[in-house]
């Protein structure tokens, strides 16, 4: 499937500072950026980087005053199997170091605190069934509602609150998976059919030797997720990290499906 993406960010910076920007889709085996355009005022000295291993990309710019960033792209997603039911969890000895780190607790996913809950609720399940039951548990126990969580809320807060937004759903799902010894990480993505459109936070679990996407909010089809950044939790994948103070003036995200035109003779 092919998607067109449009992002517009307008912020007011009270003092000159650097900004880290994670809005460009990653270049991976199953995700190809056909064409794209990242625009920023000239004074921003925008620098772009691509991680050779993950294909993830970041930009850094110097911000001062009102700054408008625009990004537009067309991205082709290959068909991927998203059904991890029946997939076994790996043995620890078979996990690469880059996966091992996603077994550990992180700022918003204190999995060390959830081991008992996981044993009680999911102790009888294994692998893909366990991960699936965790996604269901999160969906069943949370209500999607803005204004309950803050940027300091972690998975334990969300569990008590019983409500949150996509990042809270992701954090609770990740923390529970890790507590169950299933590597799990956070992914930011453009999400087709997410309403209202926004940068989405979803989850990946590692089973049977590879990562599998899942969206515990069930608000957008997994097939339409265009991956941007990957990390331990929201702290790693925020689309903008401002090393100073700023005020949001306007921002918009848009994802549309592009029907490929049939080649006409």
């Amino acid at each position: 499937m092919r998607f067109s993406i449009e992002t517009r960010l307008l912020y007011r910076f009270q003092e000159p500072c650097e900004v880290l920007l994670l809005v460009e889709p990653a270049s991976t085996d199953t995700q190809t950026v056909i064409h794209e355009r990242l625009t920023a005022p000239a004074g921003c000295r925008l620098a772009r980087f691509e991680d050779p291993l993950s294909g993830e990309r970041r930009a850094v710019f110097d911000a001062a005053g009102d700054v408008e960033i625009g990004y537009a792209a067309e991205v082709e997603l290959a068909a991927v199997d998203h059904d991890f039911s029946g997939r076994p969890a790996g043995r620890v000895r078979d996990l690469p170091a880059s996966v091992l780190e996603h077994l550990r607790p992180s700022r918003y996913c204190p999995s060390d605190r959830l081991e008992r809950l996981v044993r009680r609720e999911f102790g009888h399940l294994e692998g893909g069934e366990k991960a699936g039951a965790i996604m269901d548990f999160v969906g069943r126990n949370l209500t999607y509602e803005a204004g309950v969580s803050t940027c300091a809320s972690g998975a334990l807060d969300t569990l008590a609150d019983g409500a949150g937004v996509c990042r809270d759903y992701a954090h609770l799902a990740i923390a529970l998976c890790r507590a169950a010894d299933i590597p799990a990480r956070a992914v930011s993505a453009y999400a087709w059919r997410l309403d209202p459109p926004d940068m989405h936070a979803v989850v990946e679990v590692y089973l049977d030797g590879r990562w599998w996407l899942a969206d515990p909010t069930r608000l957008a089809p997994v097939e339409g997720l265009v991956r941007v950044a990957t990390g331990r939790d929201a702290a790693d994948i925020a689309f903008m990290h401002i090393f100073g103070k700023a005020e949001l003036l306007e921002q918009s995200f848009r994802v549309d499906r592009r029907e490929r035109l049939a080649a006409v003779a």
Copy 2:
């Protein structure tokens, strides 16, 4: 029913300090202390106080070096109805100030954080049925296990841990009741048939104009609870509050049922 109680506390105090002691059963309409003996070394200058309203009693002593405190009593409990099913919750306007305070969050019972959980789980219930469902929820979601919680653990920790001891059960039950607008408080009690014998922490809920005892651990019959102290949570009802440093050397609690001898002609 009549119970005999025996308490022995042996502590080593590294530095001279005052100690607040809550081990004497309260004198109430339904609980009569037949006879008792509180012993402490002479140098302790033990002072005893009784609260005229609640009938609760406290002692304060000066501690230094090794101190052994002994307490023995015989207490008669009147038969009390402990079945609060069907009892309505009161209106706020009908609650005395001394009850109102037990609607508020406290150190270990942050009820303000559990309002959503309560609405989702118990929103369809009222009064005694709601309180009863909360006790069942606590019993069902927790495993009785020492060493999981610490003296800093509150109800949110216990909810995540899924395990704890009597004080943790009490804290979670109290926090949930308050979040459901049912006044709830903590009670320390000698507990007949509690095994191993120890000072027990249980719960009281306010319904239909009076307080009702409940033990979410289900480890001892409510009929055999000899009330000592009442408060917002464990911070208020600890049997010993040491204003200094001390080391526990030995301590024991014992409760036995006394069969009243039939008068023989």
Copy 3:
């Protein structure tokens, strides 16, 4: 000194519910309500209560739709000594039960967690000097700023944040005093010369057999504080506790000094 007070509260209640209102100044030895007027729509069935011991007052009303509450009063404050320097802390054995409870940790004042900090920073001080040093410490380590704390923030959060509003200042000061074995409690008050005018949260410490007012924010003179409610922390003294959902439409508080006219022959 005599003060005139005016309060206006306009709220929208999404569903019928009860509301507890703490806006009327207490009647105490040193604070006399000369005349007053509390107004509410007739359907509210406003009920007023006065605690015979503390002289504190509360009102409860039934709320539905848009409700406007008005309160106006004239209050005379006797001259009171507010300088607690040199005053000794009491012995535990001399503290009444109603004071003892203010040595314990509460929802927003987890004093059990601050004992080391208190020993390190204030261990060399006693009584009034210790309480004074704690007030200075709070003032020096916090910046008055709205939007940093939330209604879930406690003294440990405030200590880390280094910023907060009056209730956060009060919570940190209270928690530190209790950790230093000085009874401390929260007081809500109309505060003359507080700018902008608002219901203020301040502190009382118990030294030398009585309570002493202190304002760690230093934003208003202690002499101009008209006491409303007293409790363990903000949970007890909020001027409105809504047992349901509501939206603030408008609210205002006003305190003016009334010059007493000289009697002319």
Copy 4:
């Protein structure tokens, strides 16, 4: 300097499980493992891995019943400049992705909560001076004491407690550095002259294009630290991660300086 290392770990595993072991010194430009021996019972199927980029090593084994692991090595450390005073902090645009992640909050280092404290205390400093002042602050505000923190304690707990062990010192130092926009990470190390001998947790800060070691506890000379693992906080660098339940029976660590014999003619 050359050091000989000896480690012995004896654990009882209640159920068969995998164990991740981080006890082998890394092979880096400045640290050479001259010879070594890692021993485990045959049934453990011990597998060893080395990360090609960092030179860090890990082992995984299958554990059941009583298992004794032994490790002995001789390691040569090159002389390294450890004085980062005067070194400038890098610009964000110049930081590699592997460094950027160490600007973010982690499980035990919630740097997002400490930005105000950092601005107030260290706002006037830059680069190496700021990092140095943070190390001093941590040393000055904490007392080294076991039994205060638990494995769930993070930097905010440590700040309130004013006490902890090496991992707590490291966490607070790391959290403060990150809050000051200085990348910081946790390092586990064999520490010459640490008394009693134990696996040590220290800190690295990134300044002027490279990482610099620092030990906020000041308990062992930085020159004698033999690096094992590196990560965001203690969650990443624990010397043993047990994917099951086990009981420690015995364990010992030993580091000695080896005098190189002068070549005699």
